[in-house]
Amino acid sequence: MNPEANAMPGSQPSAAISPKVVPGTRPFYWSVRRELMEYRSIYLAPLAIAGVIVLGFVFVLEGLPHTVHSAMTMDPQHQRDALLHPFEVAAGLIMMASFIVSIFYALDCLYGERRERSILFWKSLPVSDLTAVLAKASVLLVVLPAIAFAITLLTETIILLMSSAVLGASGLSVAQFWAGLMPIENMTGLACHVVTVHILWYAPLYAWLMLVSAWSRRAPFLWAVLPPFAVAVFEKIAFHTGYFAGLLTERFTGGKDAVTGSGMLDPDMMTASHFVTTPGLWFGLFLAAAFLLAAARLRRYRGPI
């Protein structure tokens, strides 16, 4: 920056560079990358939980041959439940971690940039508000679930290999163990669960949090939680009914028609076809789209706080 260093390369007077043609998807791609730069907990949190699970599983390994041995004497359904238990705990914990990260991310992604005033920098670049909001939404609806799925898969593979080694060493049949687990079915079931529950069913939830994040000037968490709570309380007092509260509970617990954690293990896993015909799913997706558009519009008007 000092004037006497003008002769240095790179400081030659601006020979007009011809603008490169930037494909329309590039601002979107880089907007997603920037979210991953800023919110490293998107992948660090599930990874940390996975590490803890693998570490904890080491202590279970000693008793594993005994557990598996007694499981082999059970009927097939109970046998499978017993064998799957560590895998389900691992998947459940990682999904839970990912869900919590999602909530914090959704609440901060449009609020944080206004609070730290960096929104003025982001808006000085040729990236539209809609692109920015859609990039943030796709972190919630694509990146986070994909990372959670991949880390779960990795963790389960490690657990499976550790178990197999221990069982093989103690003389039990590893093949029988694998056959009892049905890893491929388990994996498809998990993928199905991620797509239906964590993406499609939770979409309106995330979109609502993003809308509040774009709107509130302070305490986005309170603004996200208190109004729905107030509506539910009002309904209970005024009409003695609980439809709204019921709706919210159903949304949080994954919906009775969604392919839930236990449902995915049913042989007739294809309740998915039932799921896509649920009106609640489509209503939720419609709401999610409306919330996201509103968030994009708000971002356009909102400056730093």
């Binding site: 920056m1 400081s11 601006s14 960096s118 003025l120 920098f121």
Partner: protein
Amino acid sequence: MACIEARGLRKAFGGTVALDSIDLRVEEGRILGLIGPNGAGKTTALNAILGLTPYQGELRVLGRNPWVERERLMQDVCFIADVAVLPRWARVSQMVDYVAGVHPRFDRAKAEGFLAKTTIQPQSRIRELSKGMVAQLHLALVMAIDARLLVLDEPTLGLDILYRKQFYDSLLNDYFDGNRTIVVTTHQVDEIQHVLTDLMFMDRGRIVFNCTMEEFELRYAEVMVRPEQLAAARALKPMHERQALGRSILLFDKADRQQLAALGEVRTPSIADLFVAAMGNQQQGAAR
């Protein structure tokens, strides 16, 4: 084509009028200093130009409507809002990567060249940098963009004098090429006097004064008047009079230079002195 053209530009926040129907025309290749007291409406005007706020009236920036076409406009417009808007969590290299990713007119080698001349490390996080270094980084990013309009809103606020001087020196030496347009607001008026080609004063949402620097130098003269000639000098109707070191300094608008030379030492006033004089007269005018 004018770079910025506004007609009847108006903006009110509730009952407070921030921009009171201003008309504005900035030609390409100018360096305009927008000067005014706090709350004069400078930042509001810039925000409207940058598509950050909706407004009433007509406004064209490089032929585009900034509120409707902000995204497209930002390919040709850069701005530095103030020192502290770069994301504090980011690494320097990440910022370069990101801007290179989204901006079609960003020259990465150029930005890296500018940064190499500073003490900024590519792996540093922005929160670890001093205020002056953040300003250097932002300027390096912006100067590597081949933009047609650069808007600077208090770009050197809170920087020490060395960084401030460097900032404007690099802007003039490494960036300004006579085709680009620069609009700058600052309270450190005197530091940019030699940089500007045009000058505009704003007060209470209006443009109260507007001239080129050539006009400024021809029109205004400041005379340090010898005490015995004070009465004669006052007879020439100075627009402002102030005391410094026991001498009277009188500011004249369109006065005869030869007449003035007889009264004392004549020089071009600083923008700050003219600003104080103009604003003082404004307030007297408002009080009457």
